[in-house]
């Protein structure tokens, strides 16, 4: 039925629509103002739910993390590299080595994902024939759809052995492996958002540059990418947020050693991986349990900050466009 009513070039404007509405009005009770208000209120409640969920997550993390700081000082929690909650002498709750591990793996992933991602975006927006674009864009979407646990699995069975052979290690489960996998997971975000912002650059910019005798490459690098830079930076930050919060891939592919990371080839344990490993085994309502929620809170704040900055850049950029 929907097909008949859709306006098409052959049939002109939607003819069936007025009839349908009139019939509905005849059948319906006279429209009640209260009913309309109630319906609007219902939809409003659904919209406000998004705020409530976000606040709820923050509130629950905060209230569950706070009891941990009756025993641990906030300073020790954030600056001590020793995490040993089950030590028989003195339990230690320092998450610095996990924060560094997370940042290490994230930085590594961005070193790969930023040039490749922006490169693909530039190719799609400036170089590619539309037929090539029709192939590459679904590929990027499929890449985004692969579950993180599958990516982690491939890190174990595919990249791990390859890295082990390359660097002469016993197994290839280390920060490099995690970085490569996280780069793959951040790529779709970076590609699609960077391409959007490149496409939003007014055509006059490129035309002016080309008219002055610049080559297409010069136009791309000196005019179009700088003009789209704010959007590209936002895309990179969103990709970074995704890499910081990713759990399964790093849990499976980085080896999970608790020690302070010594380099890209050392086995690391990120904040997300530590929560995933320990929350299943820890007794409820112990300092250890609360401390894991503390890690969750730190994660939440980090990703929130990254996303918020990306968001501010994007909003500002969109306002300038208007």
């Amino acid at each position: 039925m929907a097909e008949e009513i859709l306006p098409t070039r052959e049939t002109g404007p939607p003819i069936a629509v007025p009839g349908q509405v009139r019939e509905l009005l005849r059948k319906a009770k006279p429209p009640s103002r209260i009913r309309e208000k109630a319906i609007e209120a219902f939809f409003f409640a659904c919209g406000v739910l998004a705020i409530l969920v976000l606040l709820g997550i923050f509130f629950i993390l905060l209230t569950t993390a706070v009891p941990a700081f009756r025993e641990i000082s906030v300073k020790e929690f954030l600056t001590s590299p020793q995490w040993d909650p089950t030590s028989p002498e003195k339990a230690r709750y320092g998450i610095l080595s996990m924060i560094v591990s997370t940042l290490l793996v994230t930085t590594g992933s961005l070193l790969i994902a930023v040039p490749v991602g922006v490169g693909v975006a530039a190719y799609l927006s400036d170089v590619a024939h539309w037929r090539v674009r029709e192939i590459v864009k679904p590929v990027v979407e499929v890449l985004a759809a692969i579950p993180s646990v599958v990516v982690g699995f491939l890190g174990i069975v595919l990249f791990g052995p390859a890295l082990a052979k390359l660097f002469g290690q016993s197994n290839g489960l280390n920060a490099v492996n995690g970085s490569v996998l996280l780069a793959i997971m951040a790529l779709p975000t970076i590609i699609s958002l960077s391409e959007d912002s490149l496409n939003a650059v007014p055509a006059a910019f490129a035309e002016g540059s080309l008219a002055l005798g610049a080559s297409r490459w010069q136009t791309l690098v000196r005019v179009r990418i700088p003009a789209a830079l704010s959007g590209i930076i936002a895309a990179i930050m969103l990709g970074m947020g995704r890499a910081i919060g990713e759990t399964m891939t790093v849990l499976m592919a980085t080896g999970n050693a608790r020690a302070f990371p010594h380099g890209l080839l050392s086995s690391v344990r990120t904040m997300t991986a530590n929560v995933a490993i320990e929350l299943g085994e820890v007794p409820y309502y112990t300092t250890h349990y609360y401390a894991l929620f503390g890690i969750g809170l730190v994660l939440f704040i980090m990703t929130f900050a990254v996303n918020l900055v990306a968001d501010l850049i994007l909003t500002k950029y969109q306002q300038r466009e208007r």
Binding site: L25, V149, R242, G280, D311
Partner: protein
């Protein structure tokens, strides 16, 4: 001349970047398809694991993922659609609307493990649902919510304003206009976007780790209050936690293949439907 060479090298770099991305996906799919194809057969899909999960199939995990995804859909689809209707049809440009949109964008950036922590406290502890299909499904539902809202709003935006104005001009109330002249046209698009979100939820592992997924269950879940086996969690166990990891590797590959076929299958269906709808519009 030099300019030409630089341009050639530059474009070559861009082509290499695209080549890398294409190669990654091909290698992924080829490796899983080749090594997983051998262990997937009818028995693998319909039997429970046997002999300490070194033999048998993954049927309970498929069933568990299906049930959880149904719970996820029941929470996330209607709520996402209604929130999208509010944002696109009712909301005015106000500070509150901006905050709602900001919250939605930030929700989609919250790490999945944090949703897991939230689910443990809210659904497992406070609401006493225990570690169960219900808790895991609701946790995944909240995770999916920002995606379904965004996708549904995109679909609503494609309905031309004249459709709304036409109904309003004939004396319809706002809700009548939305129900008769907006929703019928936006619904297919809303559903495809929603299916994309559900496919992502079906492949998530971190949020269900502590809210209900079980290592191994000899029976199928009987109610929403039971624990369950799930495909992504099963793959995680088979590749890292199992006592004989090397011997069960073919089974892990098989599980990965089934999971990826399931998730990509949902994606493809949604994308094909979307593509067709778009072409129909254009005609």
């Amino acid at each position: 001349m030099k300019k030409k060479i630089i341009q050639f090298m530059g474009f070559l770099f861009l082509r290499v970047c695209v080549g890398i991305v294409l190669a990654i996906l091909l290698v992924f799919l080829y490796d899983i398809g080749r090594k997983g194809g051998g262990s997937v057969n009818w028995e693998f899909l319909t039997q429970a694991p046997r002999k300490g999960m070194t033999a048998g199939g993954i049927f309970p995990a498929i069933m568990g993922t299906f049930l959880v995804t149904v719970v996820t859909a029941i929470l996330a689809v209607p709520l996402g659609m209604c929130a999208a209707i509010y944002l696109n049809e009712y909301a005015r440009q106000s500070r509150l609307t901006r905050i709602i949109r900001l919250s939605i964008r930030n929700l989609s950036g919250v790490p999945s493990i944090v949703y897991g922590l939230f689910g443990v406290i809210l659904f497992v502890n406070i609401l006493h649902f225990g570690t169960s299909i219900l808790s895991a499904g609701l946790t995944l539902g909240l995770l999916t919510l920002p995606w379904t809202i965004t996708a549904s709003e995109e679909a609503l935006k494609t309905v031309p304003n004249s459709f709304r104005e036409g109904a309003l001009a004939l004396g319809a109330t706002k809700w009548q206009a939305i129900r008769t002249n907006v929703l019928p046209y936006a619904l297919p698009g809303m559903l495809t976007g929603t299916v994309l979100g559900l496919a992502r939820a079906a492949g998530e592992t971190a949020p269900i780790l502590f809210t209900g997924a079980a290592f191994y269950l000899p029976y199928l879940p009987k109610s929403l209050g039971d624990q369950f086996m799930a495909l992504p969690y099963h793959l995680y166990i088979m590749s890292t936690q199992h006592h004989a990891i090397e011997t069960v590797r073919p089974l892990a590959y098989g599980t990965a293949l089934v999971l990826i076929v399931l998730v990509l299958g949902m994606n493809m269906t949604a994308l094909v439907v979307r593509y067709r709808l778009r072409n129909k519009r254009r005609r």
